[in-house]
């Protein structure tokens, strides 16, 4: 199983945290809030497609609303594969950061 890239990790975590409410606008907001990274929609959807292709998330359609000009939403939900990948990433993170605390880096 391939390792998650940093970017994918961010996206998956955001989707995880948003649970039922993970779609374009909210994912973008969450990532920006958490990491300060400013994303464009093109980049956002490109990466969403990537993680979809890898099977880490599923898509489901939502209802159109007037505030969206009558367009549908696409909700993203994390899959068991995605969860497995995140877990692996977490394990690696723990191992490599083991013994290093933030103070040492000052």
């Amino acid at each position: 199983m391939k390792e998650l890239t940093r970017l994918e990790e961010m996206y998956l975590l955001a989707i995880l945290k948003l649970q039922e409410n993970a779609y374009g606008v909210t994912i973008k907001k969450m990532i920006t809030d958490q990491t300060g990274k400013k994303l464009s929609y093109g980049a956002l959807y490109y990466t969403l497609d990537q993680i979809y292709n890898k099977g880490y998330v599923t898509k489901s359609e939502g209802d159109p609303t007037p505030v969206r000009g009558g367009c549908r939403k696409i909700y993203y939900n994390i899959t068991p594969d995605g969860k497995k990948a995140l877990k692996a990433a977490f394990e690696i993170q723990k191992k490599i950061w083991d013994g290093v605390s933030a103070y040492v880096l000052d």
């Binding site: 374009g24 464009s40 929609y41 093109g42 980049a43 959807y45 490109y46 969206r68 549908r72 939403k73």
Partner: protein, 874 residues
């Protein structure tokens, strides 16, 4: 919430929609709109709109990335299938690719040539302001690029709109000597210092302002500098030219080959200034004017003509005028064919462009035919794809990718072919074409040709194949509807139409060339060589002549004041008994030695030839041709008085016409025979640079001929070197010199032959493929017929019948078209053949034979096959 106010910018939204893929289209646009609304609430509508636009722009690159990501995945699949298809049907693919590659190679080659022809002289910065003063009307007919020496300076003085002028005059062929090197150099010109201002010729050493100021200076080009001076700096050194000393004042930077003016060295006009400063009857100089920006040439032309009227009233009254030829038109469209400039004919540009389009068309048609012909094979695949959900657009994309793949492959092969053929092509046509990808025009042009070909040949199969209905196909109903085969038949007819027209062209060109070669020019050119003159030789001419005549193999020796290819010394400075004020006087004149007419077997229609026994002949005998007699309107010209003044005041020839000769073709058959005057050459040493010694060998049996020839020439060489040790010995056969007139036609003929061959080849390839498909389609029918007892011949007949009709139809269209086109081409010749029926018949016949041969090959194969094989598939 008032939503009408808070709408995102429409254009930006549309852009977003277009750029997003089908799937995402709505969710993405919706997302952006949602955020837009929030933003608008917070920061107002204006900032929100700006933000929206920004989002669109920032996202664009990634849109492309993702679009191509998906397309890339699908494209890989298409590629795989396409390659698999190519391997499965190797023969068809080979035919397809070969045909297309050949067609592309031809078109690219012609394209390179055409763009080269169109690009002449554009490197001059003053390109749009330069004009050449040409004479036309009267004797000068459609155009002659000669003008008088004083025209330039006089016009500049009087006409304010003229910014500058420059003149050229051919410098005689001379011997250059420096140190131990001595060679003939023949491509030189006289010119004015303004040549560096008007034209963009530059010097790599020397000062352009002063280089041509001094009488005895010379500016040489890099090649000559290399030849004589090697690594030394030429400027300041002394060159000996025909025993006179010149100082090198500049080295010319090698200028682009696409310049109609070509020269190797320049001598300043200062050398001849005194002689011609006020001479208005000599119009052999070439004058170019630079007009002020945005000046119309009409007014300037008028003013120049009034200057002309003032100094050459007689010519003016005869309808001769000047016109200004813009530089942009000279290379391709000029009527003047003097020969010292690099001139081409626009006609050929059109013709070859048409040929290129023809051939490419044939190749594309082939491609289309072959791609659709195998449609029954692909039909199942199409049906399957449609069933599992491919929509028409995707199928179109797939077949387009296939065609594009084949086109790209063909293009690569085509480019390789072109690169390989260019060296040969360049030497034949003295060009320097190259596939220069750095020239954006060429790059775009070639790319354009490839793309258009890909689109054109890919569109029909793509649209046709993707339109199949799955149900029909999977139920195994064969798709050979009447509509599709009719279109295919039209394609075949068109291909053969084009090929037959080209065949007719080839046949007629051959006929005309043959006619020219065999046409009795009126004089005997065989076994004759010509030698150039030189200062020492000229002085000793009579001694040399005697020495040559001593040789047993030399039959006759005579001389002429210039070579046959340069017969264009005109003069109107003459008078005859019975001349009126309105008589046309301009004639070509040639001074010749005794024995001239006898050597060439030219018989006198009236009177007698020049005779060495009559001393008076030297100064007072004249011979004219029939055309001259007609022009002079003389009833019985022999005995009439004649005065020739062109040699100047000190050498007026006053005498009588002693003979009349038949009109003979001393120039190319392009031109009508013009009035011609002959007089006796008094002093061969006058004509050091242009004069020619003509030697005729004794007629021998051809078996001894060749070796003997070499021996005689060897002996002549010895005599030459005895009298002129410092000038290299050169000779040329008169017949060869004549052939050079038609160099262009010969080459055109060669090229057309080549293209015809290719066109026919491509058509046959196409026909071959089509025929094999048709046979395949009818394989069951053939099998059954065989079982029922049909003979092989009978089967071949049935299959070929269809194609025979197609080719016959092509003939019906091609004959009138070919006839019309070739008539146009022949119209250029003053002496031409009639097209007649034979070329048409032969071409048609050839096409039919070739087509039948191609088809029958397939048919025979089918007829010979075992019927049980084809009937087994039921």
């Amino acid at each position: 919430m008032n939503f009408s106010k808070k709408k995102p910018p429409l254009i930006a939204k549309k852009l977003l929609r277009i750029l997003s893929s089908y799937e995402r289209k709505f969710s993405l646009v919706g997302d952006v709109e949602e955020e837009f609304n929030e933003f608008a609430k917070k920061n107002g509508i204006l900032y929100a709109k700006l933000w929206y636009w920004r989002q669109v722009f920032v996202s664009v690159p990634l849109f492309f990335k993702s679009y191509y990501f998906w397309s890339f995945i699908m494209f890989n699949n298409y590629l795989k299938i396409a390659l698999r298809n190519i391997k499965k049907h190797k023969i068809y693919s080979f035919i397809n690719i070969t045909g297309l590659a050949t067609g592309l190679a031809c078109s690219i080659l012609i394209f390179l040539w055409v763009s080269n022809e169109l690009s002449y002289d554009r490197f001059h910065t003053n390109f749009n302001e330069i004009y050449r003063a040409d004479l036309y009307g009267g004797v000068f007919g459609d155009g002659y690029d000669g003008s008088q020496y004083p025209l330039g300076p006089e016009s500049k003085k009087i006409i304010p709109e003229i910014k500058n002028y420059v003149r050229f005059w051919e410098f005689k062929r001379s011997v250059f000597k420096y140190g131990n090197n001595a060679f003939y150099e023949s491509k030189g010109v006289y010119s004015d210092p303004s040549v560096f201002d008007l034209f963009s010729f530059s010097l790599i050493s020397g000062n352009p302002e002063t280089a041509l100021a001094d009488k005895n200076s010379i500016v040489i080009n890099e090649a000559i500098a290399e030849k004589y001076f090697r690594d030394e700096e030429p400027v300041g050194k002394t060159l000996e030219i025909d025993s006179k000393l010149y100082t090198v004042t500049g080295v010319l930077k090698t200028f682009p080959a696409n310049s109609h003016i070509k020269f190797d060295f320049i001598i300043p006009f200062a050398v001849v200034e005194a002689e011609y400063a006020n001479v208005w009857f000599n119009r052999t100089f070439c004058t170019y004017f630079q007009l002020n920006k945005n000046t119309g040439k009409a007014e300037v032309t008028e003013k120049i003509n009034s200057i002309f009227k003032e100094h050459s009233l007689r010519s003016y009254e005869r309808g001769i005028r000047f016109r200004l030829e813009p530089l942009s038109k000279i290379h391709l469209f000029t009527q003047s064919r003097r020969g010292w400039t690099d001139i081409a004919d626009a006609k050929y540009v059109y013709v070859f462009s048409a040929v290129a389009v023809f051939i490419l068309l044939i190749a594309c048609i082939n491609f289309m035919n072959l791609s659709t012909a195998r449609s029954s094979i692909r039909a199942k695949e199409v049906g399957l794809r449609k069933t599992v959900g491919a929509n028409r657009k995707q199928l179109i994309r797939q077949f387009f990718s296939e065609s594009f793949l084949l086109t790209v492959l063909s293009s690569v092969i085509a480019l390789i072919l072109v690169t390989a053929a260019l060296p040969f092509f360049n030497t034949q046509f003295e060009k320097q074409l190259s596939v220069d990808f750095f020239d954006y025009k060429i790059f775009l042009g070639i790319l354009g040709v490839i793309i258009v070909t890909g689109l054109a040949s890919g569109s029909y199969p793509a649209l046709y194949l993707s339109s199949f209905r799955p149900a029909g196909i999977l139920k195994n109903r064969s798709k050979s509807g009447a509509g599709s085969s009719r279109f295919r038949k039209i394609l075949v007819v068109t291909q053969f139409f084009l090929s037959i027209v080209l065949l007719i062209g080839t046949a007629v060109i051959y006929k005309q060339m043959d006619y020219i070669r065999k046409k009795d020019l009126g004089f005997n050119m065989g076994n004759t060589i010509i030698l150039p003159n030189s200062e020492k030789i000229g002085k000793q001419y009579s001694v040399i002549k005697n020495a040559l005549l001593q040789d047993p193999d030399v039959a006759e020796v005579t001389a002429q004041n210039y070579s046959f290819s340069k017969i264009q010394f005109w003069s109107n400075n003459l008078e005859w008994e019975g001349m009126t004020k309105n008589s046309e006087r301009d004639m070509i004149w040639t001074s010749v030695d005794f024995g001239y007419f006898e050597m060439f077997g030219i018989s006198m229609l009236d009177g007698r030839a020049f005779s060495g026994n009559k001393v008076s002949d030297k100064k007072s005998a004249f011979i004219v041709n029939e055309a001259a007699v007609k022009q002079m309107e003389l009833e019985s010209p022999v005995g009439k008085r004649f005065v020739f003044k062109a040699f100047g005041k000190n050498d007026i020839r006053n005498g009588t016409i002693i003979g009349v000769i038949k009109d003979i073709h001393l120039k190319s058959l392009y031109e009508k025979i013009q009035p011609h005057l002959f007089l006796v050459m008094n002093d061969f040493s006058w004509w050091t640079s242009t004069g020619k010694i003509i030697i005729k060998f004794r007629e021998t049996d051809s078996s001894i001929g060749e070796n003997n020839m070499a021996a005689v020439i060897g002996r002549i060489k010895q005599i030459w070197e005895k009298f002129e040790p410092s000038v290299p010995f050169e000779y040329q056969f008169l017949e060869e010199a004549y052939d050079n007139f038609y160099g262009k036609e010969k080459r055109t003929g060669m090229v057309i032959n080549f293209f015809t061959f290719l066109a026919v080849l491509i058509s046959c390839l196409g026909l071959f493929g089509l025929a094999s498909f048709m046979v395949e389609l009818r394989i069951k029918e053939i099998g059954i017929r065989k079982v029922l007892g049909a003979s092989s011949a009978g089967l071949v007949y049935i299959i070929s019948k269809e194609f025979f009709i197609l080719v016959a139809a092509a003939n019906i269209f091609a004959w009138p078209a070919g006839f019309y086109i070739m008539n146009l081409w022949l119209g250029e010749f003053a002496y031409r053949v009639d097209i007649g029926f034979l070329p048409l018949l032969l071409s048609g016949f050839a096409a039919v034979v070739i087509a039948l041969a191609t088809v029958s090959f397939q048919a025979f194969k089918a007829a010979g096959s075992n019927p049980s094989n084809c009937l087994r598939h039921e």
